[in-house]
């Protein structure tokens, strides 16, 4: 890291706090909102004064963690693992996470070529049981592939079962997928998904609240789910038993005003019982990607297309500009052709294409991409 890149006090404080505090701690979130991250970090490092709303025992635990935390070292380890740290106010920060209030992440550790903020704009969570049935795996993969083909980003938790099938379905369709982990994003959890998670980090985005090296715990899985719910426009639960963690994600989505959806299954399947419970509340029954997009792709989503791209071409990142320029003025192009034209890798081309999709410049049609009508006008206008 050069001197010009040196992290500011705010970033260092948030890295430090992400090591000391547990994700989703709303009492701590309130301290940070009221006093600022730098002051809270200073107070924890100095051993006092004791912050309000915390027991002596817990305060002691935090001070011990604070003594062991080394923000500069965490950033160094992260950088070596290809991981960046994104904080509120950064260009890549997904603003919709602010809906979590004092439960908002202190920052996000991010691995992968795409802009998390851009991707999250047009994303849907597909979650469900780890011990899913073949039917559940099939539905997760099919839904995710269908969403990817419609230019939507598939967000899930990287777990076995439905999550893995959803990630793989999106990857297999040359699509965009985000894994939100409950551990450090340099870790692969579960171990059996090491290759999958590394693949997501190449073609998609791996993201989490926990600093490098940190391990998942039962409660971390639960609080991680609120990030999946908040990042996305809606959550689809594919299979879930009663009291499944996926229902926590769906209920968080509902509380946050996101769409909650469920895929029906046989009434005789205990792995559909939790989904049916959701559907008997107010979740919407969906059976394919078209129905999901019909729900989440509301007027707000379509509007930018009609108004034209939301960001002027000149303000695009150079990589995105090159990919945009590689698309033909008429007709469609494959990812491979776009990558060749932009002189980049297919993975990078996919990352940029879904960013451009979120901005209203391009559309996906089956396995090909094309300029939107508005983008064509703007490009031709620019060329004339």
């Amino acid at each position: 890291m050069s001197a010009a890149d040196a992290p500011g006090r705010e970033v260092l404080a948030r890295v430090f706090l992400s090591r000391v505090l547990e994700p989703g701690d709303e009492v701590a979130g309130r301290w940070v909102r009221e006093r600022g991250a730098v002051e809270v970090a200073r107070c924890l490092r100095a051993g006092g004064p004791q912050l309000v709303g915390v027991t002596d025992k817990r305060w002691g635990g935090l001070l011990t963690r604070a003594q062991e935390a080394d923000a500069a070292r965490d950033l160094e380890v992260a950088r070596d693992a290809g991981v960046r740290f994104v904080v509120p106010g950064d260009a890549e920060w997904p603003g919709q996470l602010d809906d979590l209030g004092d439960g908002r992440p202190l920052g996000l550790w991010v691995r992968g070529p795409a802009s998390l903020r851009m991707w999250a704009l047009r994303s849907v969570a597909v979650v469900g049981a780890r011990a899913c049935t073949e039917y559940g795996a099939h539905m997760a993969a099919t839904l995710a592939a269908g969403l990817a083909e419609r230019g939507w980003v598939v967000v899930s938790g990287g777990a076995y079962g439905v999550d893995g099938a959803a990630h793989r379905g999106a990857l297999g369709a040359g699509g965009a997928t985000v894994a939100v982990l409950a551990c450090g994003v340099d870790q692969a959890y579960p171990r059996g998904h090491t290759q999958l998670i590394n693949r997501i980090a190449e073609q998609g985005v791996v993201v989490g609240e926990l600093p490098p090296g940190d391990h998942p715990t039962a409660s971390r899985f639960i609080v991680r789910n609120r990030v999946i719910a908040a990042l996305t426009r809606g959550t689809v639960v594919v299979e879930a038993a009663h009291r499944s963690g996926s229902l926590v994600t769906a209920r968080a989505a509902r509380r946050l005003g996101r769409h909650t959806m469920g895929v029906p299954g046989p009434a005789t399947s205990s792995l559909s019982a939790g989904v049916h419970e959701l559907l008997r509340d107010d979740a919407v029954l969906v059976t394919d990607a078209a129905e999901v997009v019909e729900l989440v792709g509301d007027m707000g989503e379509l509007a930018p297309q009609r108004r034209g791209p939301v960001l002027p071409r000149d303000l695009l990142e150079p990589g995105a500009r090159r990919v945009l320029a590689a698309l033909p003025g008429r007709g469609t192009a494959s990812v491979a052709a776009v990558a060749r034209g932009a002189q980049t890798t297919p993975d990078d081309a996919i990352a940029r294409l879904y960013e451009l999709r979120a901005l209203g410049y391009v559309e996906r049609h089956g396995d090909s991409w094309k300029l939107t009508r508005q983008a064509m006008i703007s490009v031709r206008g620019g060329r004339s």
Copy 2:
């Protein structure tokens, strides 16, 4: 038929009209409402004057049918087949059919030991595809058995597939079931269900709008569905493809203000696609009989139990009084024991028990029956 039993002019007119007019003909229903059945029948027999709202061609067809109709003979054939004819205003007429307005049946041909009116008070329709899957047949049978065990009457259309499974599920649980046919109730349609329909006529009720000997047609199946919807508190669709006749029943139920329910299935099954379509509208997802009863057994249903039986004991039919007297003051009794105590057949005992259930006198618990608390007080009061 003795002179004392001789049918009145109104009944004869309605028998005649049920032979001449097609079920569900709302134009004809309006004639009957405005001029009375006797006058409409006289006009059709006399060949004029031509009634309003009917083409010359159709009028000619009606006159031909009128020439061939013989109401007295129809009643005789029906009586020989153990079929009675119930008209609006009769003690056995189910008042909720009046919700059909001018589409209300002119009368109902009824076969079976129970009171259709009593049974319809606590009834649920379970309908679905003829070519159902094993899953659909299993769910229909399980739901129907569960409803029967909770003291509810299962209404269906007597068809292959879901209908047959629902009837059999109710019969197998020693329960009450009603088959609403789209042909004369002395006919067995489909032929493969001859034994089933005869069995329903012994332990339950077979009912229809068409006079003895009449055959079903495609349109008669469709208009029959409105009777299923109107008779019951709600309609459960178990399996149905897109554009299935069961969806007609469900939509009629919704229009009539009845509950509409659907059993989910795999999103990959075309036989669940129609049900999922309903559930994406405003039908309620149900997975077992308890959920159905939770919905249809509302306060209106429970209220009579709290207030005590709705009909004084002295006004009960002698058969029902005998069955009531055969129940123990404390504890439960099987159908066989009740039948022995009342000196009647088990089928008759079942008919009376479900009537008494509708009136708030008795409850079913698993395979046994007992007096409700209010009935016990009333019985003990009567005995003291």
